[in-house]
Symmetry: C2
Amino acid sequence: MRKSLATVSISGSLTEKLESAARAGFDGVEIFENDLLGCPLTPEEIRDRAADLGLTIDLYQPFRDFEAVSPDRLAANLRRAEKKFRTMERLGADTLLVCSNVSPDAIDDDGLAARQLRLLAERAAAHGIRIAYEALAWGRHVNDYLHAWRIVRMADHPGLGTCLDSFHILSRGSDPGGIEALPGEKIFFLQLADAPPLSMDVLQWSRHHRCFPGQGGFDVAGLVAHVLRTGYDGPLSLEVFNDVFRQADTGRTAACAMRSLIALEESVAQVLGTESPLPRPAEPSGFAFAELATRDRERLGALLGGLGFSRTGRHAAEPVEVWEQGAARILLNGADPGDPGTSLAAIGLESPDPGASAERARSLLAPAPPRRRALREAPMDAVAAPDGTRLLFCRAGDPDHPDRRAGSSRAAPPAGGITGIDHVALSHPWHHFDEAVLFHRAVLGLRPHESFDVADPYGLLHSRAMSNEAGTVRMVLNIARLGDKDLPRQHVALATGDIVAVARRLRALPDVLLPIPDNYYDDLEARYDLGPERHRQLRELGLMYDRDEGGEFLHLYTATVGQVFFEIVERVGDYRGFGLPNAAVRLVAQHAPAPDRSAA
Amino acid sequence: MRKSLATVSISGSLTEKLESAARAGFDGVEIFENDLLGCPLTPEEIRDRAADLGLTIDLYQPFRDFEAVSPDRLAANLRRAEKKFRTMERLGADTLLVCSNVSPDAIDDDGLAARQLRLLAERAAAHGIRIAYEALAWGRHVNDYLHAWRIVRMADHPGLGTCLDSFHILSRGSDPGGIEALPGEKIFFLQLADAPPLSMDVLQWSRHHRCFPGQGGFDVAGLVAHVLRTGYDGPLSLEVFNDVFRQADTGRTAACAMRSLIALEESVAQVLGTESPLPRPAEPSGFAFAELATRDRERLGALLGGLGFSRTGRHAAEPVEVWEQGAARILLNGADPGDPGTSLAAIGLESPDPGASAERARSLLAPAPPRRRALREAPMDAVAAPDGTRLLFCRAGDPDHPDRRAGSSRAAPPAGGITGIDHVALSHPWHHFDEAVLFHRAVLGLRPHESFDVADPYGLLHSRAMSNEAGTVRMVLNIARLGDKDLPRQHVALATGDIVAVARRLRALPDVLLPIPDNYYDDLEARYDLGPERHRQLRELGLMYDRDEGGEFLHLYTATVGQVFFEIVERVGDYRGFGLPNAAVRLVAQHAPAPDRSAA
């Protein structure tokens, strides 16, 4: 299907927006009026610029507060419309979006609205222009898409149709099934936006918190399927008002918008039972490894040794070591450390078909991974995630797999040791969070869990877990909003079946464990009655505790090296979470200097 | 009155919070449980640290979901309470905040709630602890302060009272007048917060958007007056959950909190007709001058000359020039330029009593102005505004006034010239905006207008005007959220009675005016029918146009020098605004490079 982007959805000047939309592969744009007003180019120059870029101008918008008005207001509105028709002719735009009237003066009379819209359509037709009438969710009298359609039908003019907008329909909780009663040729335009579930004024929700399909909570694919069943063959057009996207990089947001539409097309095809435009997913089944880039291989090696890892391989030609324990594999790469000395550089994902996984990722516009100085001869299928981490798809046994590549010689895991990687937590700048949710959902097939805000002593940590059906690939996406103290933190959580044994071993080592304050354990005793023996043990070993309806969770944290730390977790029963109630205490401990007891 | 601060209101570790609260002059604190849990100090050490700082621990909070529960839940809750009593004893805190139950399991039975709270109060009394029961605005069955009070009265235990919280009362639209029916000695605690008017879920509103009294829209002073009439003599305690304050500087937020309480005491005194604790306001009556620090006196001098200003004085010993036109006075100070080359360094405010104005500002914790290299011998009464601009209070004729200080010799304004300073727009980092609103309100007596968001091509401009009753002192507080492109912009708006004459003069000069795109004028013709002659004139002269119910507004902008530009405004009739509908177009024009017509 043709894909279009409203210029309001991305940042920049109008020419920057057009260029980014074209580069991201869009076929057309909606010109948002404010973008035109501030542009130093004439409408003719904008038309030519768009044409040079291969973009059609599919819609001019918005035209407000036109219909259901008094006769003198109508005259003024028609005068206003004639000016806009003239601008649209110069621009080469043939469809005008008319939003349902929000003015307190609007008259509650569908017949009047229909007659006036018919008059507008007649005037527009003289300029070769069509009118697409849309119900705003906060329209004064018309706020439901079926109501707008009834008025369009009553007006009965070939140049007047309706515009459907997924936000206006789904934010009100309307049933989109009713769309199928509309004739497809009377749906002049389809605007798409998703949104997170927020309980707030719908106008503010719409103006500040829309997002691209797949980033929020609406069933946009279901709505589009209803629209396509009517025979609609116009563009799928994204119209997203979002405070963050307004501030983010133009080209990156445009690419994210396109990724959203590609993934949406796949979802729609699933609903309709038609062929998907995307390669079938070869979804990752587990973590093959986590690779840390570090200046400090010695310290990390000591930490991994303390955690019970063995160095099982060392690359012949590169400063890369492989450390293993159970199914957990950590690569230490000294060749290309990031600025903070130690950072998570790559995640290896076990895939049934690495080539297909990477191909799908590239179809979804996953960027190529950053150039690296090392591992040049290992041509694994790799892309870059939105936080910059490389994702490498590999299959055990393949020549590229790290166990072969670096000459790994895996030993049997020690009793009560680490059994594998439980999850990986990535840190994102504030303006790449929604992008990351969509990316990991579309590219890796992970399903997002609920979002949470955790209090940090210097701000808030916004956190959202994502996992596959089997629970074998779990990622936690974090965004820290810490004012000036912004510090990215990434971590690798390692699974064990006997965290008590692990903790015992670690407590014997200096400076390995993150100390948890005694006050936490006093509170834990207040919240849970686990028996004095258990409480004593948790406190002594510095273990944190959580439970849900499925089971229990025990975990501990190591000290941070560079921007990376490790977590050790034991899941008892069917616990599904990540120890969220303990996160605030952990964050305080991570910020804390060594306790200062000078006043005691 | 005693003043207290909940530790959740500011950022940092618990010890940082205690130190900042003490430094800002608070008498006590509420310990928010999460701050304790993460703290490496023992409760005894925290008690001692607070005592050393001269702080009492006035409240421990919150204790949740206690009352109106089944018998086995009650047993678990009492067990939990005993653990907390023990912690409070160690901490030296004698009042526990119990929030009304929000659990879906809570039983709708006031008698049961009362009996269980009485039991809790009996247990607490054995530890010398009192229970303050509070209705959360989103409590399951108890969400109104009078309902909580009825339960407290029914329980009838001397160790059980109520806690009133301005947010929970005013967010629900409850009438605070009912407070006067409560006996003062049964009000165990008073928590204060303001909030901006937001139409959203009250829990989210409370957790993320509370602010200090005077920063939002609630009549907190009126509520406090009701409370004081009951004979309440406990502390005024601020409990503010705010995403921005969580990330801001601890000490600065604590000082802002104290400023809020000092100003609140004055407002309460006005309501009660009692004596104010603050020096009477000597409110500024107009702008004496605006001072620009610049590396580029030549370019600014040329610009001011073009605007019709004359250099009327030059300081003997300092690189300071005075430029005047009508009542507008601009000082160019070459001694101490900021980083961006040219910035607004100071605003001179005409005051009937400069010493009293400055004294009041200092009573409200206005910081001393930044040290400067020049003007050392001019000891004007000065403080620093939250954006760093110096505010100097002066009285015409005084020896410190700039017309004398720099040997100004004012000339008569040219016909059709600038008559004075209309307003000044200041630029704030995102985490000092609420602070700035409160500062200018309390210190200068300016009243805030409505807040607006304006679309910028690279983000959003959040803007709030403030003015005095007479309209002679107008400031616009701006915060630009532009992602990585953050650029502070300040401007001085100059008033004229004949903007057409000013514009004619300026159009003859090269590179002085900000060009306004033709597309703006096409839209203006669509929106307003001012007659072809008028529209032609506006377009030709590059004037922007707005109107409100009171009158018309014509304005233009100069090019930006460093981070400063000038606006020229003509107010026709009683126009009260600032040309807001034109701001988005102006912002695009300010970002735009010279128009690139290469593709045309």
